[in-house]
Symmetry: D2
Subunit: 358 residues, 4 copies
């Protein structure tokens, strides 16, 4: 299954060191104005090569739209996008051709599919996420047409957490830090990890704001939190996911975590904008936790494909903290989920159908 | 979408105070022996009325299999199960007919669907989970045939966490406590909450052990962690989900969270049995965090359906800590995901097809 | 796959001689008024026992709605219906327990699933179609709310074809004959077949009329003709399917089969209301061709489950011409496809979304 | 929905006069050897420009595989293929920019999506079928690995039908004629139609032979005949579909159309290789009927987008008989359906799972 979404279905294809990465979006309504520069802008936010805090692989991603647009607008037919791979250094991987990198997908892919695509992780590489971000840019244009906006930032690196949340600041920060006050300490932690040939974990805050209709989410198995959980937990390196108060809610009493209301609206947003699996109109707040990059440059005990124990000394180019670029991917996934839910919701009540057909 | 699973598809139907709750399982292989008493056993584990720690609603669930079984074995056709609702006290809800209970699905369902099914939460009630547990029992029989086992327990109530993990003990504990040493303290916390007309949050540990094949999980959008994240986050009251080290991995360095290997296997299981979205053969470890029951009996500020501010004083029967019964539901969901993945995996390589067709 | 539909998903379960037959409809909009007597009425049209032209098995189908309705209207949650089986004579089948009936599903089911459910065909029985008709009744209520109507009738038995098409007459005819003039000859053909312990084929005309919106149908693989082709070809005994001119169009020139237009609309309807896979607003005309009932009472050469050649002399109760009752099922399937397409179409253009969200 | 298949899912994208046409195949098992020249071969069979019997548009389709292959074998990840469009003459269409061509998708697409993509039919063009044929070539390699083969040919043009069926001859025939004896008469009919600026209908026979396992087909709504009916009826210009005896079976008695058996196997194949929606091991026989090309060069009454009546005189390049090239597309669709069914069937019984996991 390399497709997600129920009405707005996104399929991606491509390997890290193959010819191209791409995606096909099916189910977009016709008539949506597409600004191609916006897609480039979002992909650039995601791409590396910018600083010592992210990978040195230069992903100058040129996104080409192949179909689904006519005279600047969506046509209702599949919108396909393609990004040809560049700056591929498969040679980097020749040494580890037969060796499983610890905590990588190498080992499990080998056993599932019966062969070893050693070139940069193949399909399991985070490289694929550029297709998600390109698709996310389209979803954002749809959402923004209806006044809904998505934003993200890094709120924790290692143990160091933000106390203030400033999404505007995150946009300018090299590490997408949400809190200017702790940014330097967070950068230092990344730098130390990198210098000691190690890596570091981090956590991301993602948020949707604006005119979110009440009631987004579908049935019991495609609830809004369910769909978000699915896509966030499926991102490379993500090991935990929270909505609203998250884990903290498990420590509370009901009287401390219920969102009461008065005639002006909700008095709190502990639920993170979701009740009973449906949006309640408040801002949607998600926390996504990334493990440290498994590719580290310290010697590690592992096995080769013949099951012999070997010591691995990895080379190559890797992000010391995947949460940084991961935040942009999370933001794209949130946009894609909300866009799908917006489309699915048009059939929730007969009254809506009457607006169209009567 | 009231269906989940790709090959093994489970659809559920029914409302808390309607005629019946049921499920239809499609995609089961023919020839699996079904022990009906096992289904009853699992549903009994989930049902309330046992102690002061769970709801007083008596759910004496009699599960009837309607189809899909012939001479004690599955037939490959849809297996439908039905549970007629009993001990329904819809009157309890008459007072709150027009009032939204804080942090309940009432408010969002009303806006999405345009009406108020006030009878015990309707489709949004945790009552529906009996159908999941019945389906999970079938999934367990399939998994156990191949040597895979699922288990669960409560590891935290409020802030009080288990230090030892003993799944055998949990089976006998009234609150499914994993650690005998903290059980009493956990019970006291629940009791205090209940006595003060309040409720309390809790956390659950779910585990799969045994002969888990390496490689369960499908593509990039139906990874094992993704499917688990979807179903666990979709459970009523769940606000956070972790795999393996979970949030803690975001605080670590790579050298502290990578699972190294030698010729005998993995040296640790920080990843919780999942690498690159595929099972790695180790035990699968999940943590699921439940908020406190939103139904509390303290006065709360809320609104009625005409948007007037009102004060709510709730009556009725509710679990003071939904994590307890929730653990059984989590266990069922894990079994259902693994069963689906086991079936999907049979086409992963040509070699498998050759075993069947050549 | 015992589910069909993309937004309006219908799942059915149950075997001919099992406890019950049922269906679950997911994706209905909330707020649709449901007249339960209409469901009973449609199921009665389909049920046998009425005359010598259909089966003597008495299917007094009492349909019970289990969920998805509140105060007479749909709730947006799954609508489940159940029909408990009655008048089951499994003994009739004891003699053929180990013998494959020619041109029946017995042989293929046995090889696929590895066992023999001899009781009246099990899941492969046309008995299951009662669930389709019940679901179709709901779909009709949705369509009729928007001015769309479905109707059907038998236009050919054996080689004898109708020259006039009168759907009103078909409603009253014992064999749902569309043409009063040929009805007697058609009846005689059925009667002759029955008396000589044989059966006879027949053909059905199904039509949708009224305010069919232009544009129903989705993408290239869920075109309106594609969805109809799928469901009609999947009915028991159907061996051919035509839209509009059907096979005759393969004999024509373009100038003889194109539907021209003037300012008042189409000048012909050779296309049967579908262009490019989308409805064009004209009436939708389908022809569905049923083979003769395979259950005949003449001696036939066949095999038993040990592959020995045997002669079969069948007993039991069977329709001499399955096209008669089949017409009602076709009508239900047309309604279900159109209802699904009506729902899917609400997202075809941004303008529709603006009607709901702006 | 621009995706079909349940386990082997094929998604296509692209418009006739857009940048590219492509497809993504998801769900292929890893380890299948791919011969790229075979893909080119199949696409060349489908492409026009060969004779006066097909379009003059030169579709020199160069298919590029972008992903999913490593060292000549499938990897289990999505296999994407792309064909950049060439020889595009959008100018041809400038004159009809605002006019609906009779019996074309123009009219319905305009109303559904709210705009007019006049360039060669956009997504509704038969040009898209090159992606199907490329995907079909992959499916054939999988099937042939297991001894299953697909073939096709034209058996009727206008009213002139083949009496002999020779698939080997069809491969060499300019019009893929199955019967050498009637080929010339069929060619003449096409030629006459073309010379009188008209077009002509035709019919295709498609067949699968070889080691077809008994039991291919899934549940009641993804039966083998249902899936075939869906995809064949969804092809441009197809108005009727038959399996085995097809329409003729509606004229027969049961004793004339049942397939009896002895210890050596079936004594006839009236059912066309499908019983109860499952393959019975015999050859699968399908007939697909195409209407005449709607693009004719005679004056026709139609409307423009402002609903004014106009007379259309079409120019451009079109096949006089779409059934010819259509036969190759039908063959590809049959291969794709069978490949999907082969994969789905691996879970039909526990015994199969045991071969893999025990």
């Amino acid at each position: 299954m390399n497709t997600f979404g129920l009405h707005l279905r996104v399929s991606t294809f491509g390997e890290s060191h193959g010819k191209a990465i791409g995606c096909v979006m099916d189910g977009l309504p016709a008539g949506l104005k597409i600004d191609e520069s916006r897609i480039a802008f979002e992909c650039k936010r995601r791409s590396g090569g910018k600083s010592e805090f992210t990978t040195q692989r230069k992903e100058v991603d040129e996104i080409e739209i192949l179909s689904g647009i006519f005279e600047g607008k969506t046509t209702g037919t599949p919108l396909a996008m393609i990004i040809f791979n560049q700056d591929i250094k498969s040679r980097d991987y020749a040494d580890i051709k037969d060796i499983f990198r610890p905590s990588h997908a190498d080992f499990t892919y080998f056993h599932k599919y019966g062969f070893r695509d050693y070139r940069g992780g193949g399909r399991a590489s985070a490289r694929e996420s550029v297709a998600r971000v390109a698709a996310g840019a389209i979803a954002k244009m749809l959402l923004e047409h209806f006044g809904i906006f998505c934003e993200s930032g890094v709120y924790a690196v290692g143990g160091i957490e933000a106390s203030e949340i400033d999404f505007e600041y995150a946009k300018k920060s090299e590490i997408f830090a949400l809190d200017k006050e702790v940014e330097l300490a967070q950068k230092n932690l990344i730098d130390e990890a990198r210098r000691s040939h190690d890596s570091i974990g981090g956590s991301v805050l993602v948020r949707a704001i604006g005119k979110i209709p009440i009631g987004l989410g579908e049935g019991l198995y495609y609830k809004l939190d369910s769909a978000l959980g699915s896509l966030m937990m499926g991102l490379n390196g993500v090991k935990a996911f929270e909505i609203g108060l998250g884990i903290k809610s498990a420590h509370k009493r009901g009287s401390q975590s219920n969102d009461c209301m008065d005639e002006n609206g909700f008095l709190s947003n502990y639920s993170g904008g979701i009740l009973g699996g449906l949006s309640n109109g408040e801002s949607i707040d998600l926390r996504v936790h990334f493990k440290p990059t498994p590719s580290i440059f310290l010697p590690q005990k592992t096995r080769d494909i013949t099951n012999r124990a070997v010591e691995l000394k990895l080379k190559g180019r890797h992000d010391p903290c995947i949460a940084i670029r991961g935040s942009i991917v999370c933001e794209a996934m949130l946009a894609l989920v909300l866009a799908d839910m917006l489309l699915l919701n048009t059939n929730s009540k007969l009254e809506y159908l009457e607006k169209i057909y009567k």
